[in-house]
């Protein structure tokens, strides 16, 4: 029988990181490079979490939540894919890293759901403004503290719901994809290890606000690659 303990721990990580993402402190615990290894550590395999976190961080490196724009929930994708990779790993002959990348690919589209839940949380928090005005008119200043905490809770709830959707969607998708791709994953691994970071680097280069970015990038690449070829 499958134990519910790993899912409870992942749920806890999802709540903490989800709160850090928007509502509380913003210490960057919510970034995939932190959230995924933290989940992995809670589930007993921080190495897998670190790998997933590194890939995902690269993929959405240049995404900035500016103004009213809501990016996909990379925090919950990181936690969900780490949870899936650790709990659903079928064992040899599939390499764990290849399976972790598959879990990441499966979880990524569901990250879009996070935008919807985030938007709902923001709409609910917009209503708190009116309630806060009423509380001030009535001289109920303690209610303001509760309303503020309620706003944070809305974001926490949105995160947990996104995590739930990623987990359920991921479980269903893995059931279909694992038999289909299990033989090919090991062969595809080195190419995925090369391709996934390159997509992330390309996306980041396009968003970074630095005019000679492409020339500096090319020069840096050529120098380092040349040195690696000579001394590698």
């Amino acid at each position: 029988m499958m134990s519910g303990f790993p899912y409870c721990m992942a749920f806890l990580a999802s709540l903490v990181a989800g709160l850090d993402r928007t509502a509380v402190f913003q210490l960057m615990i919510s970034r995939p490079i932190v959230a995924a290894p933290m989940t992995g550590w809670l589930l007993g395999d921080s190495t897998t979490g670190l790998q997933i976190g590194a890939f995902l961080e690269l993929l959405w490196l240049g995404r900035i939540p500016v103004g009213a724009s809501i990016p996909p929930d990379d925090t919950q994708v990181a936690i969900g894919s780490t949870c899936l990779a650790i709990t659903q790993y079928p064992g040899a002959p599939i390499p764990l890293t290849a399976f972790a990348i598959l879990c990441l690919l499966v979880a990524l589209p569901f990250g879009k759901v996070g935008e919807f839940f985030d938007r709902v949380a923001r709409r609910l928090n917009g209503n708190l403004w009116v309630r806060a005005e009423r509380a001030i008119d009535g001289g109920r200043y303690r209610a303001l503290t509760w309303l503020h905490l309620q706003g944070a809770c809305h974001f926490g709830l949105a995160s947990v719901l996104t995590f739930g959707v990623i987990l359920l969607g991921g479980l269903l998708s893995l059931r279909i994809l694992v038999p289909l791709l299990s033989c090919d994953l090991a062969v595809m691994l080195p190419w995925l290890r090369l391709g996934v970071p390159m997509v992330g680097v390309a996306a980041c280069l396009c968003t970074v606000n630095f005019r000679p970015a492409i020339w500096v990038y090319c020069s840096s690449f050529l120098v380092i690659y040349g040195l690696l070829q000579i001394f590698g």
Binding site: I29, L61, A132, D184, A203, F221
Partner: protein, 226 residues
């Protein structure tokens, strides 16, 4: 919108400064629309508190608190988002990711330190300076030259991205037992992927396309050998 958060932050001080109807009016004023960067909001909170303090003592203000807040919120949001989210965070992240790919677990605490030391430091320093200097915090914000610093840090970020791409291309080709000469193609591939991103293609779609291409390529190679 962070108006309720702003009021929550200044409420204990306001309750000390004002009572009764006056407190109600001040709270309503502080509940006005506010949206800024979480780090650079602290100098605004500090300065607003000082101005509220002066106002409660009966001093004449050259600019109302809510006007001062709304005038500063936009520029602080632009500066803070560009500096912390557009520069410091990606730079700290790419350094941590590079170390993570080499299997170093301490890349995670390093990322947190690299981001949080300037962020928390500026939050505390900004709040204190805002409280000390009220209107003159604008001079401090100009003197910090965050935009210039961000530009220089972005140059370092792009250089690190180039170095990381070279390393990942070299190590991946070595682990796949392929000639490392193929690695020189990484730059045109990144430029091509970048042009797709500029045309609005998301990295998620590109990634799914990459997996499908790899899968088809793999099966084609297998069938051709047969």
């Amino acid at each position: 919108m962070q108006n309720l958060g702003f009021l929550f932050a200044v409420l204990p001080a306001l309750r000390r400064l004002y009572k009764g109807q006056e407190l109600q009016n001040v709270c309503q004023r502080n509940l006005a629309y506010f949206n800024s960067n979480p780090v650079l909001a602290l100098p605004i909170i500090g300065a607003s508190l000082r101005l509220e303090e002066k106002k409660s003592c009966g001093s004449e203000l050259i600019m109302e608190v809510e006007e001062f807040k709304s005038a500063l919120a936009g520029p602080c949001a632009a500066m803070g988002d560009s500096f912390f989210w557009g520069t410091v965070r990606p730079l700290a992240a790419i350094i941590a990711v590079w170390l993570a790919f080499t299997g170093r677990w301490w890349s995670v605490p390093l990322f947190l330190v690299l981001y949080n030391v300037p962020a928390i430091g500026l939050r505390l320093y900004g709040f204190i300076q805002g409280y000390r200097r009220d209107y003159k915090i604008v001079d401090n914000l100009q003197r910090w030259r965050l935009s210039d610093l961000a530009y220089r840090l972005r140059a370092i970020l792009v250089m690190v991205l180039g170095g990381f791409s070279a390393w990942i291309a070299f190590s991946s080709l070595e682990s796949a037992r392929q000639s490392t000469m193929w690695g020189w193609l990484a730059v045109p591939c990144v430029v091509l992927a970048g042009s797709f991103v500029r045309r609005g293609l998301s990295s998620l779609v590109m990634l799914i396309g990459l997996v499908i291409l790899l899968w088809i390529g793999l099966h084609l190679c297998t069938s051709l050998r047969l």
